[in-house]
């Protein structure tokens, strides 16, 4: 019996989320990593308030990027070793839909918590209220892009043994546009300049990657997971 695609999407997504949340340590480690990275900077640089405020956007964004990549490594790995991925590949549903469920569940479990933690870290780095709002909005637009683009790399390297450093090297260059516009919005907000064009560019990035990444991830899975 063929279920309709929307039902399949929601069922698979909730199933994936349950699986991710059940291995609590693996789920929570990237978030702790994120907090630690951000906290390292004030310790290393000293408590110069002005310097911290001007550095905060870059620090938080780079940390979010690293945390996403850390969590991205496990995206397809367990499924591949357990053989669940092979079952997905032979199912009759389009691969892009299945890839989208994986990406969505990854974003809900790893992207959303990053956004929820970030205002706290922003406060620790002395950001003003407007900048905190800007931080939340840019992360809200930016983290889906990180998950979407990262999934392509994770799918390509799924069968590679010891891919710990390969994945970051592969997808970091493609994260740079998000980084530029994400920190750009924060800097413009700090200087009280109009940011609407930057937000539009971020939105365009989200839509572009939402359109292409699931399809490419599906194809990459087919290639990467062939035994």
């Amino acid at each position: 019996m063929q279920l309709n695609y929307i039902n399949v999407f929601f069922q698979l997504t909730t199933y994936e989320i349950k699986i991710i949340l059940r291995s609590t340590v693996a789920w929570i480690t990237p978030h702790i990593f994120y907090v630690i990275i951000v906290c390292l900077f004030p310790i290393a640089i000293g408590h110069d308030q002005e310097l911290l405020v001007s550095m905060a956007p870059g620090v938080i964004w780079v940390a979010a990027l690293l945390a996403t990549i850390i969590s991205m490594g496990h995206l397809f790995q367990n499924d591949y070793h357990e053989g669940y991925l092979d079952l997905l590949l032979v199912s009759t549903y389009p691969l892009s839909l299945l890839a989208l469920t994986k990406i969505t569940s990854h974003w809900i479990c790893h992207g959303l918590p990053l956004i929820l933690i970030s205002p706290l870290l922003g406060l620790m780095l002395n950001l003003s209220v407007e900048e905190l709002y800007a931080l939340i909005f840019t992360l809200l637009l930016g983290t889906p892009v990180l998950s979407l683009i990262g999934a392509i790399g994770a799918a390509l390297t799924v069968a590679v043994k010891g891919n710990g450093l390969l994945l970051p090297m592969l997808i970091m260059p493609f994260y740079i546009p998000v980084l530029i516009f994400g920190t750009g919005i924060m800097i413009m907000t700090h200087q009280n300049m109009p940011v609407i064009a930057y937000y539009a560019m971020m939105g365009a990035l989200v839509l572009l990657s939402l359109g292409f990444a699931p399809i490419l991830t599906g194809q990459a899975l087919k290639i990467g997971a062939s035994r």
Binding site: I171, P177, G224
Partner: protein, 236 residues
């Protein structure tokens, strides 16, 4: 049609035989362009009214930057063909082009840096054009890393193809970076075909050098591809 193409051009065997006589021709073309470009560029072309003789590094910088982007474009076309028709020769061409492209990108960055020090007063600046070319270098390095990580040759060809196609997004960014953002790097000089903003006595050596670099790329890539074909045949 496809069988004919395959028999005469696309099969590894046909490629190997065809390129045996092609290599001397490429070598001759490269030598002619290189000697002409080098000589006229260094001795005949007039000195720039602002930069003096310092501008002559353009004859290495622009061709290597052009080659870096050209090679990536070639790789992307090869990747498309590999993904759609599963042709082996284009996959080999793509995998052999990667390291060459990385070297040309590095050369463009280094010569640009040497040029930048006396003219802009700094070795490096986080300008849009420089940053996007740096990203191109990272993409090349990622390509090489992915390529060496996957053992199965078929999986490797297809996986690197997908990566190359995703990376093509960077090419228009590099090309238009000097137009979209108001940067320190100067705007396009020779790509405006209708009215190039460079004197023809400086332009012709530059065009010769660009063709020399491209021919050099073809020469190296063909030699590397022939080696690659032999290596693959040994294993099979």
């Amino acid at each position: 049609m496809f069988a004919w193409l395959n028999k005469n051009f696309l099969s590894l065997r046909a490629f190997y035989i065809n390129t045996t006589w092609l290599i001397p021709w490429i070598m001759t073309g490269f030598s002619l362009c290189f000697i002409y470009g080098m000589f006229t560029g260094l001795f005949i072309a007039p000195a720039d009214y602002q930069q003096g003789d310092g501008f002559r590094i353009i004859y290495v910088h622009v061709p290597s930057a052009f080659a870096a982007m050209f090679i990536y474009l070639m790789m992307a076309i090869c990747a498309m063909i590999t993904l759609i028709w599963r042709v082996k020769i284009t996959a080999i061409c793509m995998s052999c082009s990667g390291p060459i492209g990385a070297w040309f990108t590095l050369l463009a960055l280094i010569t640009g840096s040497i040029w930048g020090k006396p003219m802009w007063g700094t070795w490096w600046i986080w300008d849009a054009r420089l940053t996007s070319v740096l990203i191109l270098l990272f993409i090349y390095l990622g390509f090489i890393a992915l390529q060496s990580a996957i053992e199965n040759s078929r999986t490797r060809d297809l996986a690197t193809s997908i990566m190359t196609i995703v990376g093509i997004i960077n090419l228009p960014i590099i090309h238009y970076s000097v137009i979209w953002w108001n940067t320190l790097h100067q705007g396009p000089t020779i790509s405006k075909l209708s009215a190039p903003s460079i004197a023809s006595s400086m332009l012709y050596p530059l065009l010769a050098m660009i063709s020399a670099f491209i021919l050099f790329y073809f020469l190296i890539v063909v030699i590397r591809m022939r080696n690659q074909i032999l290596m693959r045949e040994i294993k099979s």
